[in-house]
């Protein structure tokens, strides 16, 4: 068999690909569900109910989706310029820590001024973490996949040190957790008796903003050009290195902001298990969305729904929550295959 490029990819095919991918994923995963001795239909029904079956379920899914949208955006921006930022996880923690630090600095300024400073600190901390690997990449051709991945460990250990030292909460009975964010910097709840907060609206706004940058600005043009063909971009006169560095600043800032928003909206203080891998899930979400900023919103809600739904399903019946990870992973693979099949057809000979 061999692959043959389709002359033209129709809109319908492009839209059908993700749906087909999700269908295939559910079929494949139903084998695992059946294997654990549970009726497949009721397991999926429970999963769906857990994710979207009630107002509370929806609010939980959206709460979970908030940091995922922002890390997904961070990754999609970077990948678009072929800057493979695997370090969103570390950048997220750095952002969370910086937000708590600035919020607790006791600045003698009105909260309306400190509030944006808190967000800016989160963004600066995330950007700072990515600028090193980006400089190493542009100056010395050091592979950023390796450096950003390794910086994650450094960042987490640094956070751990801070949580056991200077920023340790004295009232936490010895648990390594930071002092809490002051009440005036907590993000407003969007609904009674739910955890969904105004960070969600910010995430939506960011998605639209990134989409505008990507599609309509010179910087977005340069980002896409450098990612698609750096040699040709350089020939056309684009400052390739500067574009990569600016992209790194933007991507790192977004990932840092995800941490800041998470600590201000949901967690209240930094712990070492504040993020169940939001940074890494951001990579999956960006790929699922094919790096489209608006697609990131849908992909993040999908992944959040699977995670929340699987939690609730495993509480009701004997299917381990790991099924969520399997579904997310399988959907990514199915999505990659589906997008490939949308562009190529298989010829058997």
């Amino acid at each position: 068999m061999r692959l043959e490029a389709r002359a033209e990819v129709s809109r319908a095919l492009q839209l059908a690909a993700p749906l087909a991918a999700i269908a295939v994923t559910l079929v494949v995963c139903s084998l695992l569900v059946a294997w654990s001795g549970v009726p497949v239909a009721s397991a999926y029904r429970l999963l769906l109910e857990g994710a979207a079956g009630s107002g509370f379920a929806v609010s939980e899914t959206l709460t979970r989706a908030t940091p995922l949208i922002i890390t997904g955006l961070a990754v999609s921006v970077a990948f678009r310029a072929k800057l493979y930022n695997i370090g969103a996880e570390g950048q997220l923690y750095a952002g969370a820590l910086a937000a708590v630090a600035v919020a607790n600095a006791g600045l003698a300024l009105p909260p309306a001024i400190v509030f944006p400073l808190v967000l800016a600190a989160a963004m600066a901390a995330g950007a700072l973490l990515l600028i090193g690997p980006a400089l190493l990449k542009t100056r010395f051709h050091v592979d950023e996949v390796v450096t950003t991945l390794l910086v994650n460990f450094i960042a987490l250990l640094f956070v751990s040190m801070i949580l056991d030292g200077p920023m340790k909460d004295p009232t936490a009975m010895g648990w390594p957790q930071s002092v809490a964010i002051p009440e005036e910097f907590e993000l407003e709840k969007l609904a009674e008796r739910s955890r969904v907060h105004s960070g969600l609206l910010l995430a939506f706004a960011l998605a639209v903003a990134v989409w505008i940058v990507d599609r309509f600005t010179v910087f977005g043009f340069e980002m896409r050009a450098v990612g698609a063909n750096a040699r040709a971009a350089a020939f056309a006169g684009m400052p390739v290195h500067a574009v990569v560095l600016k992209t790194a600043l933007l991507s790192g800032a977004l990932a840092g902001l995800a941490g800041g928003i998470e600590v201000m909206g949901r967690a209240g203080y930094v712990t070492l298990d504040m993020s169940p891998g939001y940074g890494y899930s951001g990579i999956v979400i960006a790929m699922l969305a094919q790096l489209n900023p608006l697609g990131v919103v849908a992909a993040a809600i999908f992944v959040a729904g699977i995670l929340v739904g699987a939690d609730s399903m495993s509480r009701a019946i004997a299917v381990p929550t790991y099924i969520a990870d399997v579904i997310v992973a399988a959907s990514l693979i199915a999505m990659l295959v589906a997008t490939m099949l949308a562009r190529y057809r298989i010829r058997w000979r």
């Binding site: 896409r224 050009a225 063909n229 971009a233």
Partner: protein, 497 residues
């Protein structure tokens, strides 16, 4: 469809030329013959026996040998090893080299293919490598030899040697299929000519009595008027390079004391075999390579090594590799049309791309330069080579509406283009020169150089010969200068005279 019900026969002892433009189906046809592809319909018979489809080993066994355009030799092995690879059974413990060497030598003498079998392939010239490829096919008992664009990589002298070899092979009873899109050499070398167009056989005729114009028309499907050069008044020098040295990232010398002067309205051609520094010269004049020493002035002004400065100074740059450097394949055609002008207020305002202005600009390029496409929103990678080159040309030549560029740097502008697109590119360059642009043309194609150039200089090992008017060069002298440097060539010509 790549091939549409083609019937061909090949007689013993003849050279059959397959003539056609890029994409006409020449390569598909011989790939079917050699067993790389399987035809949907039809049969192949070799020496009275049917040939099983899709089986290269069977084709080899039936005496069909192929010499690819890109050689399939291992550089680090000797000539003898390269010829023997794959001919000896794997379980045979020792190579029977003595007998093999004798047989290779005997074959070489019989067909006039002198090559030292003990040399490593990496030490051979391109012409010698091609002889090894032919020898390899003959050693395996080829009686039908397929040569795919064999002269594309050769100097004129090497091409002549090849044609002599082919004549000798034919007198020894071999049959040859010669694939080419160059009309001159097809007329020189072949007995019969098969012309392919859009996958169909449009003509099968004797070479004797055929003319270039007829063949060109059959190949393209319409009359092709090749533009001709007219005498032009030359203006003041526009580009001046003095004592330019340039090195690669590892300190290897690319350019060694190069002097160039191009006047307004002049087309200066740089001839040379690939890899002698022409590419570095083109990069230097595109703003992507900085000279290590020497001065570089455009219209009396020194320019730095950033593409932006060169574009701003109205230099139209046509890079050698249109896919990897000329366009960004994954961006739309309209985006590629403005990619050089993102800093210009005509196409960007307050950090935003002016989409309407940009798309209008792209539209006008597409119309003025006859780029064939369904929409300016398609990805640039979907364009054919000719249309891609027209897009690049259009982008480079439409700097600032109606003004002509100061300088055009065209690096292999017609490489791989079919004759229609080639004529178009030539016409554009001639028009620009007539309008007063200085043109620096880098080319390996001597036909192109003689068709366009006012002055010619030859590049060899990073050094550039003195530029002389095109009329004072002979084909033989340029060929020698390309192969051995200009000084050696003029010595040799003097001695011969």
């Amino acid at each position: 469809m790549a091939n549409d019900s083609i019937s061909l026969d090949l007689a013993r002892g003849e050279v059959l030329a397959l003539l056609g433009e890029n994409g006409a189906g020449k390569s598909t046809l011989v790939s079917i013959l050699f067993g790389h592809y399987v035809a949907d319909e039809g049969t192949i018979t070799a020496f009275g026996e049917p040939l099983p489809p899709g089986d290269p080993a069977a084709a080899l066994g039936a005496g069909i040998g192929m010499v690819h355009q890109h050689f399939t030799l291992a550089d680090n092995l000797t000539v003898l090893d390269n010829i023997l690879i794959g001919t000896e059974p794997l379980w045979q413990p020792f190579s029977r080299r003595r007998a093999a060497r004798a047989k290779v030598r005997e074959t070489a003498v019989r067909f006039g293919l002198a090559v030292d079998t003990r040399k490593k392939v990496s030490d051979l010239s391109v012409g010698e490598r091609q002889r090894v490829e032919i020898l390899k096919a003959l050693y395996r008992g080829a009686r039908v030899l397929i040569l795919d664009e064999p002269t594309a990589v050769l100097t004129p002298q090497e091409s002549r040697d090849l044609f002599a070899t082919l004549r000798q092979l034919v007198t020894e009873g071999l049959s040859i299929i010669f694939i080419s899109h160059k009309l001159d050499e097809v007329l020189v070398v072949s007995d019969r000519i098969a012309v392919l167009r859009n996958g169909r056989l449009v003509a099968l005729r004797a070479a004797a009595g055929a003319t270039k114009a007829e063949l060109a028309e059959q190949m393209v499907g319409r009359k092709v008027v090749m533009p001709t050069r007219k005498r032009r008044a030359l203006g003041a020098p526009v580009l001046e390079l003095r004592g330019i040295h340039a090195c690669d990232a590892h300190g290897g010398v690319l350019l060694d004391g190069v002097n160039v002067s191009v006047r307004a309205g002049e087309i200066l051609a740089i001839a040379g075999v690939a890899g002698n520094g022409q590419h570095a010269l083109a990069q230097l004049l595109s703003g992507t390579l900085a000279p290590a020493r020497g001065t570089l002035e455009l219209a009396g002004r020194r320019l730095g090594a950033t593409p932006g400065e060169w574009v701003a100074a109205r230099v139209a740059r046509i890079p050698e590799d249109r896919h990897a450097v000329g366009v960004i394949g994954d961006l739309a055609v309209w985006e590629n049309a403005i990619s050089e002008h993102l800093r210009s207020p005509a196409f960007a305002r307050a950090g935003f791309v002016r989409r309407i202005a940009s798309r209008m600009h792209a539209d006008s390029i597409v119309r003025r330069f006859d780029v064939r496409l369904s929409s300016i929103d398609v990805l640039a990678r979907s364009l054919s080579g000719g249309n891609m080159q027209k897009l690049i040309l259009g982008r480079a030549l439409s700097v600032g509406a109606a003004t002509t560029p100061t300088l055009i740097v065209a690096d292999q502008p017609t490489w791989g283009l079919d004759i229609g697109a080639l004529a178009y590119v030539h016409q554009c360059l001639l028009n620009a020169a007539t309008a007063g642009a200085a043109v620096l043309l880098i080319s390996e194609d001597l036909d192109e150089i003689f068709a366009l150039a006012d002055g010619i200089a030859v590049m060899f090992h990073g050094r550039l010969s003195e530029a002389r008017p095109a009329e004072t060069w002979t084909l033989a002298e340029i060929g020698l200068a390309m192969a051995r440097g200009a000084a050696a060539a003029s010595d040799e010509v003097t001695r011969a005279a």
